[in-house]
């Protein structure tokens, strides 16, 4: 066997590694290593020793790297940092703009990435969250999944044991906590006993519900939230075993939820994190199978996938539909991954915003690069002198990089501050439009992201200027006055950067414009109610439900009279679900003049009302009459329908007024029709609605919680304390669920739209500002470069306006180029917003016509300031400057 050529291998290695050695030392270096290797090989007694010599050659790499690194040692760096700091101090304006730009961009990116990470990337804090699904009930005509009924889920829990290792249900509960004189309406949930077991969470203190603690005759027990435990019970572990009076029933506390528990937000709408959980207290047979007010969460059994599980559940549900066609006909079930139900809606918005903020970063980088290019160009003479005095190019590039790095470091430190402030503002602005916002913090991963951002940014914007500054600098004579200004290529590159900045800004502006127009369209939507000058006081049902029917009605009347007596109040009514809230109550409405039909029927949003609720809400009568005081409990039952209800239930065009329909098992005569109302806010359409006098409603009459709608003059928000006092004057024990203006309900219902419009608008504004700073910077630089030319022109008699025009023309060419490129980008890019728009198209002509014009106008304005300075040049000064 031929021995391994250790000698050749070692020499080849040294030849290759030599490429790392700085050129001026390379030949000597290779010679030295060859000398040692040949000497070693010559003396080697056998292949073993030759191998030993070859292994020694490996160290040539360390040697080469050492020589390569020599010269960028700490001492150099230290002097570079000192030099850079001195340089920045002498140009505070430049330093402030560069650092401020970076801080804004790094801060905005860090804040938004924190949100994205907290909302989209952070795993749900449950055991094996990937296996958790929400069960939704679907109507064939509605793609949106909805709530489920308790009896159906009860049956499914037994039948689908092979699909789910656990299935739990939840419904809203608004209990009143009474402690001595103190009465407070809490947010709560009614759950099945295994709810926490299905999620896989642990209590902080005590225990969760056991299997026997659900259903008819169960002991009333509750689990407290960690927040309530801390705020009301000072985190006392002794709370377990205590009795709490909730809505008049004594409940025993059995446990406290663990800290950091995240509510799975199964219920949607106005759901708030629960303060207390209780278990279902009735038998499944006691509830209507058609009563779909429950949410269900299930854990897929091992080996069962989402789609496979869904197919099996649908088959099981078909059997339930056959057995109960009245309640389940034409319905089906769907399984949705829990994280999808939680953050699915927020995902596209956050991704769009993440893209936008990345573009802001890009603009910021381009801006700082442009600034540094300008600075490098100004320093070209200095660099030439240093090169002539023997400084190496590497040394000069290092120094320029150190300066960029220093700017980046300062920008990053400030940026973290911006991020902290921005994060707070962002979460506040988003409110409940942003799921999982509670758990958002600046964590290690995000900090790593920021540091990486800060590390890459100077590379991005520091290298180009550094290389640029060097190009050609050495070749030109340092004493040549023309070297004061850069070559045309450098300036062209800067202009290119500014054009890119303008283009990106326009893309963001168009996006923000489309979202703002959508927001405007939402606010302009005719809701069917007048949201101004009205407040909504929601009273909890516990103030009424233990009374006799006539007592409750009398109490409501007293409450309305008391509030009506508050100065400034003109009209008062009550409704059991106020408009623009996210609560719903869709019930079957059946015409009495038609034979009963098979299968599912359309439902109508039913509302029980009292007093002058229609004028208080500003609703308009179309035909017939409104509900009136004479529609007493013992009078013939009367109903007012909305136009949409008329269209839905009288598709034959017959006049609904005078018709007769059955609701809640009783027959009502339609006495009037009102204009359509959007019960859930402008983004959701008008729904069929029916209004009946609460005193005539057969199920609850007036023994329920309702919202007082109080209309008046002046600052109605300021009257809320007086209105509350008026209610308390009837009975101080009536608990309030809520008291705020009607317009704030509108604000809540468009909060998600406002969040994204404001945020994208802010990003676009920052990008535009940065781009304008870029334009002004380039123009100022361009003028200083053309001082001699402008001076000659002025000396030859060019007037001021001509000089300004000359400069502005250059700026205009950049603005137009940026506008055209940006317009094309916006035209292509705006479709990513399609799902977020309301009432405008992705290529809305108003937005696409006005914003480019705005951009160009702003850019010209940014040119005008330096241009005016140019026009004031004294020709003799200008010429002497050279």
């Amino acid at each position: 066997m031929r021995p391994f050529p250790w000698r050749d291998a070692a020499l080849a290695w040294v030849r290759a590694v030599a490429l790392l050695v700085p050129g001026e030392r390379r030949a000597d270096w290779r010679e030295e290593w060859r000398g040692e290797i040949e000497a070693g090989m010559g003396a080697a007694a056998g292949p073993g020793e030759r191998r030993r010599v070859a292994i020694r050659a490996v160290g040539a790499l360390s040697d080469a790297l050492y020589l390569r690194g020599e010269g960028t040692t700490m001492e150099w760096l230290r002097s570079d940092v000192r030099f850079a700091l001195r340089g920045l101090r002498t140009r505070p304006g430049f330093a402030a703009v560069a650092v401020g730009t970076l801080a804004l961009a790094v801060g905005a990116n860090t804040a938004l990435y924190t949100v994205v990470r907290g909302v989209l990337l952070r795993p749900l804090p449950y055991e094996e969250p990937d296996r958790l699904v929400r069960i939704e009930s679907h109507r064939p005509d509605d793609p949106e999944g909805g709530p489920v009924s308790y009896p159906n889920m009860w049956d499914l829990r037994e039948q689908a044991a092979d699909v789910f290792s656990g299935l739990a249900v939840l419904d809203e509960w608004r209990p009143v906590l009474t402690e001595g004189d103190r009465v407070e309406v809490l947010h709560g949930a009614t759950v099945s006993a295994d709810f926490f077991g299905v999620l896989g969470v642990e209590p902080a203190v005590g225990r969760f519900f056991g299997p026997g603690e659900e259903g008819e005759g169960r002991e009333p027990v509750v689990v407290l939230s960690h927040d309530l435990w801390r705020s009301r019970f000072a985190s006392d572990p002794g709370v377990v075993g205590r009795s709490l009076e909730l809505s008049g029933t004594p409940f025993t506390v059995i446990g406290v939820m663990g800290e950091g528990f995240e509510d799975p937000q199964l219920h949607g709408g106005s759901w708030e994190d629960p303060d207390v959980w209780r278990t279902v207290w009735f038998a499944p047979g006691d509830r209507a199978r058609s009563g779909r007010s429950w949410s269900a969460v299930a854990r897929l059994a091992p080996g069962v996938g989402l789609r496979g599980g869904e197919a099996r559940v649908r088959t099981l549900f078909e059997m339930l539909a056959e057995r109960y066609p009245e309640d389940n006909g034409e319905r089906t079930l769907a399984l949705v991954a829990l994280d999808e139900t939680l953050v699915g809606e927020a995902r596209p918005v956050l991704l769009v915003l993440l893209g936008a903020v990345a573009l802001v970063l890009l603009v910021a980088c381009a801006n700082v690069a442009s600034l540094l290019l300008g600075r490098a160009a100004e320093r070209r003479r200095e660099i030439s002198v240093r090169l002539a005095l023997g400084a190496s190019r590497r040394r000069i590039v290092t120094q320029l990089l150190v300066e960029s790095f220093l700017l980046a470091a300062l920008g990053t430190v400030l940026g973290v501050g911006v991020a902290l402030v921005g994060l707070d503002a962002l979460v506040g602005l988003a409110g409940n439009a942003l799921p999982r916002a509670r758990g958002i913090t600046l964590d290690g991963g995000v900090l790593l992201f920021t540091v990486a951002l800060a590390g890459l940014t100077p590379l991005f914007f520091g290298v180009a200027p550094a290389v640029h500054a060097l190009r050609g600098a050495g070749h030109e004579g340092s004493m040549d006055s023309r070297t004061r200004t850069p070559g045309p290529s450098g300036h062209r590159f800067r202009r290119g950067l500014v054009v890119a900045e303008l283009a990106v800004s326009l893309v963001l502006l168009v996006g923000a414009g489309l979202l703002l127009r959508s927001l405007g369209a939402l606010y302009d939507t005719d809701l069917g109610v007048d949201v101004d000058q009205a407040v909504v006081l929601t009273l909890h049902g516990s103030g009424f439900w233990n009374l006799e029917a006539d007592e409750a009605a009398a109490r409501w009347t007293s409450v309305m009279e008391a509030t009506r007596a508050v100065p400034g109040v003109t009209t008062v009514g009550a409704i059991h679900i106020p408009p623009l809230s996210s609560s719903f109550w869709c019930d079957g409405v059946y015409r009495d003049d038609l034979p009963p039909t098979e299968g599912p029927q359309p439902c109508a949003e039913f509302r029980a009302t009292m007093g002058d609720v229609f004028p208080a809400l500003g609703m308009q009568l179309v035909r017939g009459r409104l509900l009136a005081p004479e529609d007493r409990a013992d009078a013939p039952r009367a109903m007012v329908v909305s136009r949409a209800a008329g269209r839905t239930f009288w598709p034959d065009g017959a006049d609904p007024v005078g018709g007769s329909v059955t609701l809640h098992g009783e027959s009502f005569t339609v006495v009037g029709m009102v204009e359509d109302v959007h019960p859930f806010g402008p983004a959701d359409g008008a729904r069929p609605m029916v209004f009946v006098p609460a005193v005539q409603e057969p199920w609850n009459d007036t023994r329920i919680g309702m919202s007082l709608i109080v209309r008046g003059t002046g600052d109605m928000e300021a009257r809320i304390p007086a209105l509350r006092a008026a209610v308390a004057s009837v009975d101080p024990a009536i608990p309030f669920e809520d008291a705020r203006t009607l317009v704030s309900y509108l604000g809540e219902s468009v909060r998600a739209n406002r969040f994204r419009a404001v945020l994208l608008g802010a990003f676009a504004g920052v990008a535009l500002l940065l781009a304008l700073v870029g334009v002004a910077g380039v123009m100022a630089f361009s003028i200083s470069r053309r001082t001699r030319e402008l001076g000659i022109r002025a000396a030859l008699g060019a007037d001021r306006r001509a000089l300004v025009g000359l400069v502005v023309r250059e700026g205009a060419s950049m603005a137009v180029a940026g506008g055209v490129i940006g317009l094309a980008g916006a035209f292509l890019g705006s479709r990513v917003l399609a799902s977020l728009l309301f009432g405008v198209t992705v290529h809305d002509p108003v937005v696409f016509a006005t914003l480019p014009a705005l951009l160009i106008a702003a850019a010209l304005l940014a040119c005008w300031v330096p241009a005016r300075r140019a026009s004031r040049l004294d020709p003799s000064d200008a010429l002497r400057l050279e």
Partner: protein, 107 residues
């Protein structure tokens, strides 16, 4: 120019003081790998503690190998040897002098 007297630097200084003059010989004497010895030599060279020169007494065409690079302590380098010895302490005692080795002390 000052230099940080690391263990490796001290070993190399001591080897040079003991008369080892080629890079590979210094590696043999100190047991340090080439990736350590050479950067130390570069540093000592940069600090003017050693003089580097090409071997003059051989003709490459005659010995059929390139010239070797010779390192020798300068006056400043020699002044540093006591410090290096102090730094190394007892380890130094195990280092045989070059002459002993040439005489067949280590075989």
């Amino acid at each position: 120019m000052s230099i940080r007297l690391t263990h490796a630097t001290a070993m190399v200084l001591k080897a040079l003081a003991a008369g080892y003059r080629y890079g590979f010989d210094i590696m043999d004497a100190t047991g340090l790998p080439s990736g350590t010895v050479y950067p130390v030599l570069r540093r000592l060279d940069g600090a003017e503690l050693v003089d580097a020169a090409w071997e003059a007494s051989v003709d490459p065409s005659e010995v059929k190998r390139p010239r070797r690079r010779l390192y020798a302590l300068t006056a400043a380098g020699r002044a540093l040897v006591p410090q290096a010895e102090a730094r190394l302490g007892d380890v130094a005692r195990f280092l045989p002098a070059a002459e002993e080795r040439a005489a067949g002390g280590e075989a």
